[in-house]
Amino acid sequence: MKRKTKFSFPAKYLLMILSVLCVGTCILSFTNVPFAANLKDVTGYVLVPVQKGLNQVGLWFSNKADNLKELQSVMAENQELKEQLNQLMEENSNLAQEKTELKQLRELYHLDQTYEYPKIAAKVIGKDPGNWFRIFQIDKGSEDGIEVDMNVLSGNGLAGIVTSVSEHTATVRAIIDDSSIVGAQFSATSDICNVAGDLTLMNTGKIRVEDISKEAEIEDGYTLVTSTISSKYLPGILIGYVSDIKIDANNLTKSGYVTPVVDFERLQYVLVITQRKQQ
């Protein structure tokens, strides 16, 4: 051991060399050299399977904690829900009839405006370890047909967008991330606006809505969907419900908050739309 360390050079130089290397690669990764993806592929072979396993352990812990908390409230809720169920069964049969009627009418008027996209399901296997960003990793990659800029849903709401892809994993930026901006519009009035993630609102479970025209007549509870003029997000995907719309200090625009339909604290499975806005 002693003989080996004879040629070692001072820590200062090591630091200097590695610093230059880091700065170099940092600059390189903003050009179009895809070596970040290659590094991901290589490390992914080892890390991804372990990550999946560890995630199960984590889920088990958080589920246990939630279970204890929720047991009591669930029992009371169960009773209530049973009563509701009876009511709803009746309503449901009525609605089923109306639905077939609606379908016929829609066909007559060619008004089928609900959007259907091809999707594939993926599992969330890791989240950004820091506390500044909301980025997560999913277990499907380029092999499964995922590409950068594909939209990601959870349930029926918009969760985020794919920012980078490797062979078997992809990185997704959530719409609540501080650097995320989504072009949106109100489904009722078609007024356009921007939905911008904000770290300061993270714990309130809301996102900021900006740049609504002053003339727009918006009320609390209006649904917000992705806009047709957004360059990366497909149109008509539900984002959430607005509240607290106020006129900005500049007296030209309004802004407020939107409560997303997706529960970002408990993301487990997501759907990736395999169609991109810009092909």
């Binding site: 820590a11 630091l15 990764s29 820091g130």
Partner: protein
């Protein structure tokens, strides 16, 4: 050699725990910074060079998976490991105050760097929100976790030192 395997194993284990298990154990959506504990501790108990290497590889892993540019986190972690290496002279097995102070300082400065580079420059000026809610909260949680992690790594280090001495005397 054994030491390198142990160090590499620690980095990967801590990275995986941080992105999976501890994401579920987050409090008020704040998670502890395990890799920072590792970088600081190796720098502190082994010296500058180990600090540099551990910091470099910890940061690199973060960069590969969650960074925007390869090398950004690696650079920050590397310097944290290096600077903590300066306090290696003051390292004393039983002492717990100095390591906690150092870790506290490391985590606060880490938070400040991220804030300045990634938020302040993007016109997020509300420092008095970010400082208590993100930087300070993360530091406190990290210190609580480090109380559990610090001793085992120290012990492992002592065992490895013992093994190295034994094999050195065998050949010497």
């Amino acid at each position: 050699m054994l030491r390198r395997i142990f160090t590499g194993f620690c980095i990967i284990l801590f990275f995986l725990l941080q992105v999976t298990l501890f994401q579920h154990l987050s409090m008020a959506s704040i998670t502890p910074n395990l890799l920072l504990i590792l970088t600081f501790e190796f720098g502190f108990i082994r010296g500058k060079k180990t600090g540099i290497w551990v910091g470099f590889f910890s940061g690199l892993l973060l960069d590969i998976y969650y960074g925007t540019g390869i090398g950004f986190y690696a650079l920050i972690y590397m310097y944290i490991g290096f600077l903590n290496g300066y306090f290696h002279k003051l390292f004393y097995d039983e002492d717990i105050t100095l390591p906690l102070l150092l870790l506290c300082g490391s985590n606060l400065s880490y938070g400040m760097i991220i804030y300045i580079c990634r938020f302040l420059l993007y016109n997020r000026l509300d420092f008095f929100y970010y400082f208590p809610h993100v930087i300070l909260a993360e530091t406190i949680y990290t210190i609580v976790i480090s109380l559990m992690v610090y001793r085992p790594i120290l012990k492992m280090n002592r065992i490895l030192e013992g093994l190295e001495k034994r094999s050195a005397s065998k050949f010497g």
